[in-house]
Point group: C2
Chain length 325, copies 2
């Protein structure tokens, strides 16, 4: 790793599960006090009277080593008695909340109800879970991703979980974004003179990363960046490793390729380097032609070693880049 | 059983666990459409942002045959992952909420948050759980029992669960009672010309039954009753079978006897007959001297047969009584 990456601050922008994997790698490579992981909150929603922040939870559980690896979401050693009983009572059970997971939602909702901010609540939950890097919501203000589909507008979790991403996507809207302010940890990381890398985790560009970019002032502030932005492509060999990113691209009339991911970010001058998988090595030249540096490596993260290796490679790659806004 | 008890309506007034046992017996003896169980809601409280109605829950779980017999409270086949995880997060874990039990609180709280009334929510939960008799809160309005102790005033559950009934009791207050209105099922049962018996379950007189009596207008309406009031003494052999009733009596300077229970209700002309245990047969004459009829039988309910037998005996006893308001 270069000196810059070893001493500077790193800001990771993350959605849920895929982003959480790279966050785990970054947390092992970057000193805890130098890493800030900012999570999308456009997926947040109110359900059963509880405030649920799926992306924050995925990142927290992963960093606390409490994720369920097999299921791919939620907590390990999870139980489902609550869901069973809720079903018996005729409650809404399309969004599966594990018994352990529920504690996060109940405690967070209780604190929000008492007027505490999501940022402070997240910090305290992280402290309780022994998470050392700074994990923060992109904003304390309510932003709600609406998926515009051919069968009408759907709240994100209704599209994503209840309707299993079946309706064809026409576009997205982030309700509340116009008046949302970036959270203090996000702003502080952006303004930190020691910031040496901004990592866009392998998360869905449309519904995980775009809400973060869409916060008022963020694109302009990133335009004046001194630290390079490096993204890890969430599209590998024409497929999304997880989630509907590839399906969305197809429905939006975009080729389902890592090149298109580069084009999507670089078109707004929000990308200096893209990390793509060996499978997509053939796209390297075309991506470079967009003015985006390319690192070809293994981007599929299965083991902790995979996560650590990819994180290290991202940071070394970033350290060698000029910003090109 | 007499003809009256077989065809008339029965109204049971109940607290939590002890009352729930007799309610189970009554439900087996009285036709479902003729039994109304009205539960104390003075024990209700807001906890972790959820509305919890312990007495309603105890009665519902018992009638649905979902109570945990061994633990004596909560649901059978219960899990504790939620509590474990809440503890990890630094949440308040002095009030133990099982994973299954939690579904009731979350669903009830969600509906209350949407403006539904506790009576309707209870009816729907009962329908979902297959409970046939009518179970209702004493009121939809918030009433909160405050225990005045030598170490200050305590919200009921703080006294009861958190502080394990240790502080000596000086008295009780039912906040909100002055403006609380009896629930519709309670009023309808009281006004029903077919009402043939009012059964005070073996529940705590001070904190389970008194909040029900303290609702505006209830004592007057009971004063004009045509159906007899029969109570089952919660004090057996100088002990409360469950809970702090005997301890409270001692701290309030009352002898801890079934006679005192009779005196407590009869002093307000709210009792026609008292069912006492064989252990207390020696008190029979003294209770009769208060103008209260006495039935001596086995009041300790362990098996379903015990519950059914006691319920039958209560109804037959009531059917033979004149009202003596």
């Amino acid at each position: 790793m270069t000196g810059g990456a070893a001493t500077g601050r790193v800001l990771a922008l993350s959605g849920g599960v895929g982003g959480a994997k790279l966050a785990v790698g970054l947390a092992r490579v970057v000193g805890a006090e130098r890493l800030t992981v900012v999570c999308n909150t456009g997926d947040d929603f109110e359900h059963l009277g509880l405030h649920i922040s799926p992306d924050l939870d995925s990142v927290m559980y992963a960093l606390a080593d409490k994720s369920d690896a097999e299921r791919g979401w939620g907590r390990a050693d999870e139980g489902w008695r609550f869901m069973e009983a809720l079903g018996e009572l005729g409650g809404e059970d399309w969004f599966r909340l594990g018994d352990r997971d529920l504690a996060t939602h109940v405690e967070r909702s209780r604190r929000l109800g008492m007027g505490e901010a999501l940022t402070e609540i997240t910090e305290e939950l992280c402290r309780a879970l022994g998470i050392l890097p700074r994990v923060a919501p992109m904003t304390n203000d309510p932003v709600r991703t609406v998926v515009v589909t051919e069968s009408g507008e759907l709240a994100f979790q209704h599209y994503f979980v209840r309707d299993r991403c079946v309706p064809a996507v026409r576009g997205f809207r982030f309700d509340g974004i116009a008046t949302a302010r970036p959270s203090a940890p996000f702003s502080e990381a952006l303004d930190d003179p020691a910031l040496t890398a901004i990592i866009i985790c392998p998360s869905n560009p449309f519904v995980s990363v775009d809400p973060i970019f869409a916060l008022p002032g963020i694109e302009q502030r990133l335009g004046g960046r001194r630290a390079p932005i490096v993204a890890v492509s969430p599209i590998v060999g024409g497929q999304a490793l997880k989630g509907p990113a590839a399906k969305m691209m197809a429905e939006l009339g975009m080729p389902q390729t890592a090149l298109e991911v580069a084009r999507y970010y670089a078109g707004r001058r929000l990308l200096d380097g893209l990390v793509i998988d060996h499978l997509d090595a053939g796209l390297e030249t075309a991506i470079r032609d967009l003015g985006v540096a390319v690192l070809v490596t293994q981007t599929v993260m299965t083991s902790v070693e995979d996560k650590t290796t990819l994180a290290t490679e991202c940071l070394v790659f970033a350290a060698g880049l000029e910003t090109t806004p």
